[in-house]
C-alpha cells in the first residue's frame, strides 16, 4: 500500500523540518483526538500529543516504512498517552480546570465532560482503544491489529465488546431486556 505521507516522511527523515511540520499539520487533530479520548482530559491530551510528535521526530530516522506513517504515529500516541496517565497517577490529580476562554477549548472541554466520554472512561483500555481507532478515527481492522500487536480477530472482538458495553453504559433504549 502506498503511504500518502511517504514523500513528506522521507524528507523529514533527512532533517527537513518544514516537511515534518506538514505531517504534524495533517495529523495533529486525529492524534489529539486519540489522546483526548484515551485520557479524557484536554490538558493531558495536549501533553501526550506534544510528546507524541517529539518522539516521532526523534524516531523518524529509524522509521522504515513497514507500516503507514499514521499507524506508526498512533502507536506512539497511545504509548505517550499511557505514560501521561502513569505520570498523572504518580502526581496529584488534575485540579479543577478554569473555564476556557477560547470557544474551541470550551468545545473540547464540553465534549470530554459529556456522557460519551464518561462511558468511554469506564471501558477496559483495550476496548476503548479499539473503538476509538475504528469508529472515531476510521482505522481499518488491519491497521489496528498492526498498531496494537494483536490479531484482526481480536480487534473485532474488542470492537464488539467495546461497543456493546458502551451502549449499555449510555443506556440504549433496549437496555434491561437482556436475560
Amino acid at each position: 500500500m502506498r503511504d500518502p505521507d511517504g514523500d513528506l516522511v522521507r524528507r523529514a527523515q533527512r532533517g527537513d523540518r518544514w516537511a515534518f511540520e506538514q505531517l504534524v499539520e495533517r495529523h495533529q487533530h486525529r492524534v489529539y483526538t486519540l489522546a483526548a479520548r484515551t485520557l479524557g482530559s484536554p490538558e493531558d491530551a495536549a501533553d501526550a500529543a506534544q510528546e507524541c510528535f517529539l518522539r516521532a521526530w526523534l524516531g523518524l530516522p529509524r522509521f522504515r516504512g513497514g507500516a503507514l506513517f499514521s499507524t506508526w504515529l498512533y502507536r506512539i500516541c497511545l504509548n505517550a498517552s499511557h505514560d501521561q496517565r502513569s505520570k498523572r497517577r504518580e502526581s496529584k490529580p488534575l485540579e479543577e480546570a478554569p473555564e476556557p476562554a477560547d470557544p474551541r477549548d470550551a468545545f473540547v472541554a464540553s465534549e470530554l465532560s459529556g456522557g460519551l466520554q464518561r462511558a468511554l472512561s469506564e471501558l477496559d483500555d483495550s476496548y476503548r482503544e479499539a473503538v476509538v481507532l475504528y469508529d472515531v478515527l476510521g482505522c481499518s481492522y488491519a491497521e489496528i491489529a498492526e498498531l496494537t500487536g494483536v490479531a484482526e480477530g481480536t480487534v473485532k472482538s474488542r470492537i464488539f465488546r467495546g461497543r456493546s458495553e458502551l451502549a449499555k453504559l449510555l443506556g440504549t433504549p433496549s437496555e434491561g431486556t437482556e436475560s
Binding site: 524528507r11 518544514w18 511540520e21 495533529q28 472515531v136 465488546r161 456493546s164
Partner: protein
C-alpha cells in the same frame, strides 16, 4: 424460534458492518428473526457505533509542535551497489594518489585530517567533473524547504555562484555547506521546495 446456533461476536460485528457475503448474511438474518438475545446484541452494536461515529474530531490546541531538537542521526539512503561502485571508484583512485603523495612527501604526513578533507573535496570534484552522477547524493544535508518554483530557486543560487540543479523534485547544491546555502536563501520564505547541500 432460533434458527441454527448463535453467530459468534465476529459474525455479528461483520453483519452490522455489512462485511458478510450474501449467503452468510441470509443465515444471520434468519437467526436474528427468531433470537431476541442476538437481536439485542445487534441493537447494542449499532447504538455503540452511532454514539462513537457521532463524536466529533477534536481540534488540537495551537502550538502543539514545540522547538524540535536536531535529529540524532539522519536516515541514510538505501544501499545501491551500482551507485556505490560509481562513487567509490574515484575515491579509491584519489586515495591511491594521496597515499603516494604522503609516502613521497613525509613533511605533510601528519596532516591526516587535512588529507581526509582533501580526499572528500576531490571526490566531490571528481563526481562533479564526471557530470554523470545524477542520482541524489548519499549524504545530502537538508538546508531547508523554501518557496518555489524550484527553477527559480536554482536560478537564485546559480546567480550567487552556487552549483545548483533540480533533481528528483528538489534542489541540490553541490560543493557547498548547508550554512552557506542557508545564508544565500535567507530572504526566501518557507515553502515546499526542498534544498539540500552536498559538501
Amino acid at each position: 424460534m432460533v434458527s441454527g446456533t448463535h453467530p459468534d461476536e465476529i459474525q455479528l460485528l461483520d453483519y452490522v458492518e455489512d462485511d458478510l457475503d450474501t449467503a452468510s448474511r441470509g443465515v444471520v438474518e434468519a437467526h436474528l428473526a427468531g433470537c431476541a438475545e442476538c437481536a439485542e446484541q445487534i441493537s447494542r452494536l449499532q447504538a455503540g457505533r452511532e454514539a462513537l461515529r457521532g463524536a466529533p474530531m477534536l481540534e488540537a490546541p495551537a502550538g502543539l509542535l514545540g522547538e524540535l531538537p536536531e535529529h540524532a542521526r539522519p536516515a541514510r539512503r538505501s544501499f545501491r551497489p551500482g551507485r556505490a561502485i560509481a562513487i567509490l571508484a574515484p575515491v579509491a583512485a584519489i586515495a591511491g594518489v594521496v597515499a603516494i603523495v604522503a609516502t613521497t612527501n613525509p613533511g605533510e604526513g601528519d596532516g591526516g585530517d587535512e588529507g581526509a578533507r582533501a580526499v572528500a573535496a576531490q571526490t566531490a570534484q571528481a563526481q562533479e567533473g564526471g557530470g554523470e552522477e545524477l542520482a541524489p547524493a548519499f549524504d545530502a544535508a537538508v538546508v531547508r524547504s523554501v518557496a518555489g518554483p524550484a527553477r527559480d530557486v536554482v536560478q537564485v543560487l546559480q546567480a550567487k555562484g552556487f552549483d545548483a540543479r533540480r533533481l528528483d523534485g528538489r534542489v541540490e547544491v553541490r560543493g557547498a555547506t548547508p550554512e552557506s546555502v542557508g545564508v544565500a536563501l535567507e530572504d526566501r520564505p518557507n515553502g515546499p521546495v526542498e534544498v539540500v547541500a552536498v559538501p
